[in-house]
Symmetry: C2
Amino acid sequence: MDLSKTGLIMVISGPSGAGKTTVITDVMKTIPGMKFSVSATTRPPRYHEADGISYYFISQTDFDELIEKDELLEWAEYAGNRYGTPIAPVLQSIKNGEVIVLDIDVQGALAVKQRCPDAIMVFISPSDPAESERRLRYRNTESEDKILARLEIARKESAYIGEYDYLVINDIFSEAVRCLSSIVIAEQCKIKKNISEATQC
Amino acid sequence: MDLSKTGLIMVISGPSGAGKTTVITDVMKTIPGMKFSVSATTRPPRYHEADGISYYFISQTDFDELIEKDELLEWAEYAGNRYGTPIAPVLQSIKNGEVIVLDIDVQGALAVKQRCPDAIMVFISPSDPAESERRLRYRNTESEDKILARLEIARKESAYIGEYDYLVINDIFSEAVRCLSSIVIAEQCKIKKNISEATQC
């Protein structure tokens, strides 16, 4: 019986203000080998950002090449910069038995699911959409326009919850952490019906 | 968004000596509304057994009637007595949002799965089959013949692990408890793809 830990891809989406990053970061403290995927981007690094840790900072040409060679799980453009998830490090993590977390929007999440049918799809959200708005405003880091744009995105994205495997309600932080860590542990106990399918991506 | 707890049927199998009952009982302490299904049996009660708690003690005629009316999820005969799982209390538990646990052998488990495709199938086992044997002998409650018979059943049953959803390895008790409780919590966070299917049984 093979008792090595199963590597997992976890795709996590949810509205801005849902507390995704805080919940995920807390779960990571208790689950060894669980970490964020590092995205590639054409955006220049900010002063505190290290290459290969915050992002892989690459040129437009290199990004084009990743797309051409089909080496991105998903990619998108925001404000003139491109962001994407390189496949190679994700596959390496799975091989190492790690839990690799992709914190991405619904569009990217659906692209990953299509490519990796074994990806675990988790949607994190407060039960009341108004709570996301309250948290966004409380953060006080963005203009009213940006907040309204984020809320509109959240409204549209929530229509896709049915495409996800799990819904983690983040009303009580400790409960959300307990749910997400349970999902990871349970998925590691899952009996793979088809090993070849489990390793494909 | 409906936040009521999802009722679940959990079918748990595993070799004698795997520590199933101890693990399940410990998990029940932390998960409200998780309880064992009560079986019906034609065996006469022992002195400490209360009707409706240990078992529903019923006559051969009543058992025949349950079978005829298709009101048992599964049933089997051991040593001249019949044992079965009545459907009605299981359905009531699910309706109440409870997690109802059926601790049954592989044959019964497969029958339940066929009838209730949403049942969560969990196999509990030590990683080394020799460990079950050691625990059975340590219990010192059964004759050598019975121990050998149990080990033979365990060997045959392990061929069906692929029919289960989850495998909980009980080498370290606290780890097994953590896995099983995670499975329950994770399953409660699952997004039902098809509500009508979720309630069918």
